[in-house]
Assembly symmetry: C2
Homo-oligomer: 221 residues x 2
DNA sequence: CGCTAACCTAGAACAAGTTTCAGACTTGAT
DNA sequence: ATCAAGTCTGAAACTTGTTCTAGGTTAGCG
């Protein structure tokens, strides 16, 4: 909780080969344990043992369980993005393409519900100390969705729509994972949210001054 | 973790007066501790002490910290719903009224960000063992939103829109609470999601068979 | 080679959520 | 009033995330 020195500003010091290797083993162990058993099954001692590193070392690489799982998600998202790039969606308009992409991702997660559980629960439970990493995941997700739209130059409304779609994606996934929504409902809600992409711009003069770049300026650092 | 016998099917056995009183003290302590310090500050030992009950008793009333915080949220939502009923929103169309209602709720939460943190993090982190309680919160939230629309007889699309709005509400709140979104962004995203309410129906024959009642039928029990 | 700083390991220790247990107290029915 | 069942208390124990420490290893460098 203490938020130790983590100069992860943009570039951690470059890792040696052995270190890259360790990091990979840790992420692999995390993915594996998450795959059976979900969030609760990812126990730091077990991750350390499975990865063949000491507990202290695990904590040097990932300062908390949440950091570890968010990094695992980043890892998985990279695979996903690469896969999707090879098979772009074929829908007629942007909304259809986004919905198709997300449903494809959803079917992939259905095959690994425990892994999905671990990653998404970590992502949404993360507090300020994980802001940077969560933000990275968010950017990656946004990139995937924007890729799917095929839009070169989205309007601020569309960016807001993308955020709403992301929110819906995470939240509906959680709802499904904890057995409170059917798959049909997940699909319906994702398609509903995706309709926002195609919406014509609306111009109430007082409104949206919160365009894309409105990151929280100071945060807590 | 074990999911002990909790016959909370629909009606716990009616509590005696002393028991109601204890329950109230516990919720009060929880609210108070959450108000200072958020999720992490709600420590079960401290709640028990502040409420003047033994730890074991606390766990008899609320089988986990998550259950406790979700119940706290239910409590707060009741107040909110009552308050809102006294001052209905004044927007022109349903979307405006919903957005106004949610922004009003959001301003209330701004005054107690720690409490909001504790409740919302618990709500979205909850796993299957808390399904019932989370579902109750969800129903209550849906009721608040539907009240705001003023719609007597919402279409399935509108119900899906309401769910998307709820997802957005929770998720954007988390994003704000962990310092990754500005208030302007929260407002923009809520307004964006609310536009779905006013959308004309769309009729792709293959689509939404996941109307309102599609609760997961069996769950994991 | 020999030094030094950074890194790693094993293991203990600590913190907070959760469980357990023996005994005291309440309650309701006889 | 008395008994049985259920509840509450206080305290210890257990689990898992996290931190700390002492000593061994590695990597770069003179």
């Amino acid at each position: 909780m203490t938020g130790r020195a983590r100069p992860a500003g943009a570039d951690a010091p470059p890792l040696t080969e052995r270190q890259e290797e360790r990091r990979r083993r840790i992420l692999h162990a995390s993915t594996h344990l998450a795959g059976r058993g979900g969030f609760d099954a990812v126990q730091m001692r077990e991750v350390a043992e499975a990865a063949g590193v000491a507990l202290g070392t695990l904590y040097r690489y990932f300062p908390s369980k949440i950091h570890l799982l968010v990094a695992t998600m980043q890892d998985q998202l990279q695979h996903l993005h690469a896969t999707l790039a090879r098979h772009p969606p074929g829908g007629a308009d942007p909304a259809d393409r986004v919905a198709e992409t997300l449903m494809r991702a959803f079917r992939a997660l259905q095959r690994e519900p425990h892994l999905a559980d671990a990653m998404v629960r970590a992502l949404i439970f993360a507090d300020r100390s994980v802001s940077q990493e969560v933000d990275a995941v968010s950017r990656q997700t946004t990139a995937i969705i924007l890729d799917a739209t095929g839009l070169a130059d989205p309007t601020p409304q569309q960016l807001s729509a993308v955020r709403v779609i992301e929110h819906t994606w995470h939240s509906t996934l959680i709802t499904w994972l904890s057995g409170r929504a059917s798959i049909a409902q997940v699909r319906a809600d994702i398609e509903t949210a995706c309709r926002l992409i195609d919406l014509p711009a609306e111009g109430p003069p007082g409104g949206e001054d919160a365009g894309g770049a409105a990151r929280s300026p100071s945060g807590a650092r």
